[in-house]
């Protein structure tokens, strides 16, 4: 039946997943809006979702590879044949005791995403960009507070009081949205009298609205925050009551000893921010009624774990945890579990980032999932045999992507590839599809059911959203969730006794006295409408073993990380003469990662309504010295790669940095190939080759590296 009118559902042009209303006329989508019963806002990507829905490049039938991997030659096959190929391979893999060598790469839309359930039941791993984006923050928060905030849990900006301080440290909040309402909440807080401080090597759209832009050296965040902590403690500006009550006994003294030489002056030399500015912001933060800090790129531009640690210490000494305007600690929505609950494989025993030659070294830094960036390494090691990518594009998003492309094409035994099966599950052909053995046509977010709940506070609150089909899918498209449920019924039927996705959601919703139908009738959203503040007071403490905040991490004493190290990321400290610039990638509101959804979307590549190209941003004074003019063709070379692109001269970047918008460079799709642009990941070393600089010390400088430029 064709629908008409405004229908509530949930956007998926990016990971924020904002609640939207969609106007449908005779079965066609006409308009999109933010849902006024939720946060009420939708962004330009959400509005351009209609161009995605009716894109002529949509896949409509399963395809099977007929050429070599990488050639992108396919023939249509039936769903029956495609599913048989996958089922047979997975059955054989399990029978030989290697179920853990299956990985599916996707963004989980809920804690019980059916795809994730299948993996846990079968014994394979989920692999997302989540560790890439959030590991350090998550691990830091677990260690210090016993909670798990991530980049979707920034301060609730609408709770920031007058005179509160909002710090965006390497966080492009107006570009990579946590929710489309974040910009208006920040601007409203500013109008109430709150102050916005942006700490970033690039003058972003956020910086344009900031009261204060601090152009810090990439990876200088830890030093900057340690300098502020020094100033706050040595001048007795810390929140004594909060520290006395909630910091574990002995930790504050250890901190005091540690920061003794981390003076603003000493830290200034590392982060290249004047000591007076470090002191000024520290004093303001200590006196402000609240300080909220959000960071994302900041943690990826260097010593992520050290910065996450310094960040949580800063929040602790200023008492900005679970308070209005500070760092929220959200609760999970109490859904019912679907019995039997599969345990999943043991990440610590079988996870492929731990199975290679560096197995023991990883014990200090615990990823909560398999990190995407070891796919190439895992394939080479023989630890990854079947890879199913759903709404993921590693051939373009993976740092050191050439390594990935080479690895998936590596020959194994018996005329097979080393990676025995590669499946790409997408709504349009992508860079990754070109390498896939099977390409499966997914339903778009306008065509499928999905129950959304994660501890992403900003968009879901402590609640749930219902994504529902507003139009019919073209051709033979099937939603990946239902295909994974089908695979579950074939391979691990004891965990898939429910009929379909809707029955699966009904079981979970029963925990709230709801069903899909009831939730739909309610308008597709349910929320407790409260985030709660200082919940640790009621619950008798934090989620740490002592119930107090752990500022000192004794488990990392052996690697000298019991307290945050102040230095820059190691890879920024070497080869400075040969590679004098630090390449940093940045986000705009127009594109989400390297997905075809936005990069192959004509409205989002249109110069009037989107972002067509990604020239390299170069500071004008530097360009003048190098005789580079605006629009000149330049070559950017890193230790591992080289790209050619146009130069854009600007005052909006530090002189020692080169900026590139992330996610460009697709060679697939009508629009994507018209739009120009280069892929920044070509310049980024494969993570496996620089472990000592990155993951073995809890660093995540996977989006940046040292480079040189030539005309």
């Amino acid at each position: 039946m064709k629908k008409n009118g405004w229908i509530p559902t949930v956007c998926y042009q990016c990971k924020a997943e904002c609640a939207i209303m969609v106007r449908v006329e005779d079965g066609c989508i006409k308009e999109v809006r933010g849902n006024p019963k939720a946060r009420g806002k939708a962004c330009v990507k959400g509005m351009a979702g209609i161009s995605l829905e009716y894109n002529k490049d949509r896949l409509t039938q399963p395809l099977k590879r007929i050429g070599k991997r990488g050639e992108g030659k396919f023939k249509p096959v039936s769903w029956d044949e495609a599913l048989e190929i996958i089922t047979d391979k997975l059955k054989a893999l399990k029978d030989r005791g290697e179920a853990h060598k299956l990985t599916a790469s996707f963004f989980p839309h809920s804690i019980t995403d059916p795809k994730w359930r299948f993996l846990n039941a079968y014994g394979g791993f989920i692999n997302t960009a989540l560790p890439h984006c959030d590991s350090a923050k998550i691990i830091s928060c677990i260690k210090t507070m016993g909670g798990v905030p991530n980049h979707h849990i920034p301060p609730a900006w609408y709770t920031v009081p007058k005179d509160g301080i909002m710090i965006l440290a390497g966080r492009h909040a107006f570009g990579g949205l946590d929710d489309a309402s974040v910009p208006v909440h920040i601007l409203d807080a500013k109008e109430r009298g709150a102050k916005l401080v942006v700490i970033d090597p690039i003058f972003t759209a956020d910086a344009a609205k900031a009261d204060w832009w601090i152009p810090i050296k990439p990876a200088g965040d830890t030093a900057f925050f340690l300098g502020m902590i020094h100033h706050i403690i040595t001048n007795n500006l810390y929140n004594k009551k909060f520290v006395d009550n909630w910091v574990r006994e002995g930790d504050f003294d250890k901190l005091k000893n540690y920061i003794e030489d981390k003076t603003p002056k000493a830290m200034s030399k590392i982060c290249d921010v004047p000591a007076a500015d470090i002191k000024k912001l520290a004093t303001e933060c200590a006196k402000a009624p609240s300080v909220g800090v959000d960071s994302f790129k900041g943690i990826m531009l260097g010593q992520a774990l050290d910065f996450g640690h310094a960040w949580t210490i800063f929040l602790a000494v200023t008492g900005n945890i679970d308070n209005p305007g500070g760092q929220p600690l959200p609760d999970l929505t109490p859904m019912a579990s679907v019995e039997p609950v599969p345990a999943g494989p043991d990440l610590y025993e079988l996870g492929w980032h731990r199975t290679g030659k560096d197995k023991d070294s990883f014990s200090n830094y615990s990823f909560i999932m398999e990190p995407t960036w070891y796919q190439a390494q895992a394939i080479k090691n023989g630890d990854l045999k079947v890879l199913i990518n759903s709404e993921a594009n590693p051939a373009l998003t993976e740092m050191g992507q050439k390594e990935w492309c080479d690895a998936v094409c590596m020959a194994g035994d018996n005329d097979e590839y080393k990676l025995e099966l590669l499946v790409s599950y997408e709504i349009m052909l992508s860079e990754t599809s070109k390498y896939a053995d099977l390409v499966l046509p997914d339903k778009s977010y306008f065509e499928r059911w999905e129950l959304l709940y994660m501890p992403w506070f900003y968009n879901f609150e402590t609640g749930i959203l219902l994504r529902q089909p507003v139009v019919e899918a073209p051709g033979e498209c099937r939603h990946s969730n239902n295909v994974f449920i089908e695979l579950g019924k074939r391979l691990v039927p004891e965990y898939f006794t429910f009929k379909d996705d809707l029955e699966y959601y009904d079981i979970q919703l029963a925990g709230l006295g709801l069903s899909v139908k009831k939730l739909q009738d309610m308008g597709g959203l349910w929320s407790t409408r409260t985030m709660g503040f200082r919940k640790y007071e009621q619950s008798g403490g934090f989620g740490t073993p002592s119930g107090k905040l752990h500022l000192y991490w004794e488990d990392l004493e052996g690697v000298n990380q019991a307290m945050p190290r102040s230095g820059l990321a190691q890879e920024y400290e070497v080869d400075i003469d040969k590679y004098p610039f630090v390449l940093i990638s940045y986000r705009t509101i127009f594109h989400s990662g390297a997905g075809q959804w936005t990069h192959n979307n004509p409205q989002l590549r249109d110069t009037v309504s989107g972002f067509f190209d990604n020239p390299a941003l170069i500071n004008k004074s530097v360009a003048t010295k190098l005789n580079i003019k605006d629009g000149d063709n330049i070559t950017i070379t890193s230790r591992t790669g080289q790209i050619k692109c146009k130069a854009k001269l600007t005052e909006r970047i530090r002189p020692d940095c080169i900026g590139l918008a992330h996610g460009f460079g697709s060679t697939v799709g009508t629009t994507a190939t018209i739009g120009q642009g280069v892929n920044d990941n070509i310049l980024i070393p494969d993570a496996g080759s620089t472990l000592n600089w990155q993951d073995l010390v809890g660093g995540e400088s996977h989006v940046s590296t040292r480079v040189r430029i030539e005309k």
């Binding site: 809006r33 161009s51 489309a180 003058f203 509101i589 249109d606 009037v608 309504s609 970047i653």
Partner: protein, 183 residues
């Protein structure tokens, strides 16, 4: 004077272009299956001004719809009398039926906001969502603005609102019927 207007706040506009796409969707300006980048009509565009030298810099952004000029040059330029300034609202409208496709209005418009439909040979542009506002609605750009940077109302009322909120009217930019303000 009867003049409907938009008030665009440079202190709130982040140049996100959400309004441009929402406007296109509402007015049916996109052929979703065939559209290619840089060939899609638009009734608004974002402009910005970058000032200063690193690290003391500022960037301001704003949107430019039809300015619904007081003495609109497009009205004068049109030989087919297809363009009128509506006396009740001050909205400058193009009558599609009367338009002969001469493009004189496009030449005459100092703001470069008039679009041309080649297939059906007519000029078209922002009409402040004429039908929508007469039915009690607000223009789509106002409704969908991600940062609440655009307000709709009578020009005199908006002026008063700006004054009451302590916003400064940017006189040079506000020469016609659209008001530009900042903190």
């Amino acid at each position: 004077m009867k003049q409907l207007s938009l008030m665009i706040d440079l202190s709130r506009c982040i140049g996100c272009k959400t309004c441009i796409v929402a406007c296109r969707n509402f007015h049916g300006l996109v052929d979703y299956e065939a559209a290619l980048p840089n060939e899609i009509p638009f009734y608004l565009r974002v402009e910005s001004k970058r000032e200063g030298v690193y690290p003391e810099i500022s960037v301001n952004s704003w949107v430019v719809p039809c300015q619904h000029c007081k003495n609109a040059l497009c009205v004068k330029a049109c030989k087919s009398d297809a363009i009128t300034k509506d006396p009740d609202t001050g909205i400058v409208r193009i009558n599609k039926e009367k338009c002969s496709g001469e493009k004189d209005c496009i030449e005459a418009c100092p703001y470069g906001v008039i679009q041309f439909n080649k297939q059906e040979n007519y000029a078209h542009k922002c009409d402040l969502c004429f039908d929508l506002i007469h039915a009690g609605g607000t223009p789509v750009c106002v409704e969908t603005c991600m940062t609440d940077a655009i307000s709709f109302g009578e020009k005199q009322t908006l002026r008063q609102q700006a004054k009451d909120e302590g916003k400064e009217i940017l006189k040079k930019m506000s020469a016609q019927s659209i008001l530009y303000v900042h903190n």
